[in-house]
């Protein structure tokens, strides 16, 4: 984590002991959300419980809709968002899968809902522990995806998420993903901003202006004064353009995520790489690993150990998965000899996990791209410790030495 802001110009913050879920709930509260519509599911439950406490104690002016399912939670969130409200929700695993249909409707309706995902494995067999199968399965749903490393980043990213998603040039929903239990349930020190500062940083929701069917330029919302037909039936004559425009918004988000990361750093002193990717000892590295989420910390410890042994290793953490930061990957990895991509989910029948296929795709255009191999690990909460992860770097060393890749996709820590 780079310290960008100068100490004396930074605003006052309070150090609290919070787990990731509590940090998320606090950030949502401070972001002055108008509507929260949610349904409980492990390991996200604490977020909903904590927010319910704020409502019960009159600490927020938010309308809290405790729905009868995740499908209704996201449906209510979407509808509230297009009515002009700032909306927050949270889910995980089966809950996110139940939302699947409406995730596409939410992005297609350009509703900037912010959702926290406490990543958890998908059934069957049922498993409540952390892996990224749930959000990775929704990678094509048109949402922005940010993956955090710890509770502090979870807190910071929720605040940033509103500023990014609600930007009129973007107006897309966003998922902030935190590894289930590892982040959601682990108590950490979290620097917390004052309510007023968060409110100022995000500002009031600014609605995109659009031309309605009467030819008037009006704010994009359900408004009796300016009736608008939202979610129409669109034929092949127009549908394609709707979808292409979503892609345009994704591109705008690439810039906006970096911009918000810088603004946040000026205010708090905390930044996460350039907002898209974060690197560790990568500049002079020969071997590197790409990771998403909380395993970053473990890998950093391991990299320090290996560096002390004289091995030039580094790390790139993919913070933003959608939009996928192709340029940043090409820029940061072009000098690497051998690269390992860590996937905490599977894409059955594919050559490697979702992060691997995306990374290989992005690096294909570099003339002398590194050897790239894939490790599927940590599924269903399987522990990933420094000792086990050492194998990744041993394999990379071997590949760099021999110039030979025997196996592309590895399963790390598998007992069979």
């Amino acid at each position: 984590m780079a310290q960008i802001g100068k100490e004396e110009t930074l605003i006052k913050q309070e150090l609290l002991a919070l787990n990731g879920d509590e940090a998320v709930a606090l950030a949502a509260k401070q972001s002055d959300v108008d509507v929260v519509a949610a349904y409980p599911i492990t390991p996200q439950t604490i977020i909903v419980e904590k927010f319910s406490e704020y409502v019960a104690n009159g600490e927020v002016q938010t309308e809290f809709v405790c729905t009868e399912s995740e499908h209704s939670a996201i449906s209510a969130s979407l509808a509230a968002s297009v009515t002009g409200a700032r909306v927050f929700t949270a889910s995980a695993s089966a809950g996110l899968a139940l939302m699947h249909e409406i995730l596409f409707v939410t992005s297609g309706s350009r509703a900037p809902v912010v959702m926290a995902i406490a990543n958890r494995a998908l059934s069957a067999p049922i498993n409540i522990h952390g892996d990224q199968s749930d959000s990775m399965a929704e990678r094509d749903s048109g949402w922005l995806h940010i993956y955090v490393e710890n509770a502090q980043e979870a807190y910071d990213s929720i605040i940033q998420a509103f500023k990014i998603a609600e930007d009129p040039t973007i107006s897309l929903p966003i998922m902030v993903c935190l590894d289930g239990f590892t982040i959601s349930h682990t108590l950490e020190n979290v620097n917390v901003l004052l309510d007023e500062i968060v409110k100022q940083f995000i500002g009031e929701r600014v609605l995109p202006m659009i031309i309605n069917h009467e030819g008037k330029t009006v704010p994009f919302k359900l408004d009796p004064d300016n009736p608008m037909t939202m979610g129409p039936n669109v034929s092949p004559v127009f549908y394609f353009e709707f979808k292409r425009q979503q892609e345009e918004a994704m591109k705008n988000a690439l810039k906006k995520i970096q911009e918000v990361n810088t603004q946040f750093a000026t205010l708090t002193g905390r930044s996460y790489g350039d907002g898209l990717v974060d690197t560790y000892k990568l500049d002079d590295a020969e071997l590197a690993v790409i990771v998403v989420g909380s395993t970053t910390g473990t890998l950093k410890v391991l990299i320090d150990e290996l560096r002390s042994e004289g091995i030039k290793v580094g790390l790139l953490r993919l913070r933003t998965f959608r939009p996928f930061p192709v340029e940043q990957l090409q820029k940061n990895l072009k000098h690497i000899k051998a690269l390992a991509v860590m996937d905490k989910s599977m894409s059955f029948g594919s050559l490697g996990g979702p992060v691997f296929t995306e990374v290989r795709n992005a690096l294909f255009d570099i003339k002398e791209h590194p050897f790239i191999i894939n490790y599927i690990f940590g599924l269903g909460g399987r522990d990933s410790n420094p000792l086990g992860l050492r194998k990744v770097f041993e394999d990379l060393q071997q590949i760099a030495k021999t110039g030979q890749v025997d196996t592309v996709v590895h399963y790390l820590g598998l007992k069979e």
Binding site: E68, S75, A76, V87, D225, T229, G231
Partner: protein, 348 residues
């Protein structure tokens, strides 16, 4: 309107024991308006939509929008009425309107209502109150939308749910729904050599809704348009969830003459196939057109009068299927007798 009429209407409203504590809205009194008055009101469900000739639900929507009392947001489930009125870049809606999916219209209404409340509290919208209406067909209500509906009315969101019941998935080519009546031939319950159409009874949906103990539940059909429009108005006046079940003939799906849609709407009440009533705080009262048959049972027509001329029941008129007509008559009589008991104290 004279003062005496006003007093009468006030007495009538107060007998409903509705708490009308909302800010004053321009009030529509459909019972007091003539067809001409209503025709002169500006349309909010506009012409040019792609509904079939003789479409019952389209007539329903046009009349519903003429019974509104003030600023309103409409959300609609996927279905034939959603498709015909929103073909981009055209729209039939003069109201803010949202469609997202098939099964979640009540959840959408929950979100809109919550947003209006929250933004209202923070002074971010200028309207004192905005009515929220959710519209769905029988598929989006009886079947795929039932969970979201039950959840929303259990939470008591302030909205009116309007079900236009044309007794099948007409948009996708006339498949059976939980609202399709016994004996009807649909494309998923075709009348064949061994099966005479749908074998199951129509789901008692309004009973399920009533069991949620919400303030206002009513049934209506567009032939009795004044009755229907006043029920829309009452449903909006309730502070909480209200449910209106509107029986709406579909010439395409019922295989009927498009010019006879309103006749079937009328016959559904005359034969007691679809009695119309309203329940305020669970107290059920037969509406006047149906009450007539409680007071003068001899005037009640046999169901065969209603079944005749409907292509979906054509096969029932073959000698080997005659017993199904008897079963339908029996089921209709049983349902009517049960309803009379439920309305007992109010029929005198």
């Amino acid at each position: 309107m004279t003062t005496t009429q006003n007093e009468q209407s006030n007495r009538k409203n107060s007998s409903l024991k509705l708490e009308l504590s909302k800010p004053a809205m321009p009030k529509v009194e459909p019972y007091k308006q003539t067809a001409k008055d209503i025709a002169l009101k500006p349309d909010l469900f506009l012409s040019g939509h792609r509904a079939c000739a003789g479409c019952g639900p389209a007539t329903v929507l046009r009349l519903v929008t003429k019974a509104l009392r003030g600023p309103t947001i409409v959300t609609q489930a996927t279905g034939c009425m959603e498709i015909v009125c929103s073909i981009y870049p055209y729209t039939s809606w003069g109201l803010p309107w949202l469609h997202t999916a098939f099964e979640n219209v009540a959840a959408n209404a929950s979100g809109i209502e919550a947003a209006v409340k929250a933004l209202g509290k923070k002074g971010k919208i200028k309207q004192e109150h905005i009515d929220v209406i959710a519209i769905a067909g029988d598929g989006g209500t009886y079947d795929i939308g039932l969970q979201a509906l039950s959840g929303a009315i259990e939470r008591g969101h302030d909205f009116l749910f309007i079900l236009y019941d044309n007794e099948g998935y007409m948009n996708t080519g006339i498949q059976r729904s939980g609202g399709t009546p016994m004996g009807a031939s649909t494309t998923t319950t075709p009348a064949g050599k061994v099966l005479p159409g749908k074998m199951e009874k129509k789901k008692p949906l309004t009973e399920i809704i009533l069991a949620h103990d919400i303030e206002y539940v009513a049934t209506a059909t567009p032939y009795y348009w004044k009755d229907m429009m006043s029920k829309v108005q009452k449903g909006l006046e309730v502070e909480g969830s209200a449910f209106l079940h509107i029986f709406a003939p579909c010439p395409r799906g019922w295989r009927t003459d498009p010019s006879r849609s309103m006749s079937y709407s009328k016959l559904s009440v005359e034969t007691c196939v679809f009695p119309i009533w309203e329940a305020v705080n669970g107290k059920r009262v037969l509406s006047i057109p149906s009450k007539m048959y409680a007071l003068a049972p001899q005037k009640k027509k046999p169901v065969i009068d209603y079944l005749e001329g409907q292509g979906r029941f054509r096969h029932l008129f073959k000698p080997e299927n005659k017993h199904v007509i008897d079963q339908i008559q029996q089921a209709t009589d049983n349902h009517w007798q049960k309803l009379l008991k439920q309305c007992e104290t109010t029929i005198r």
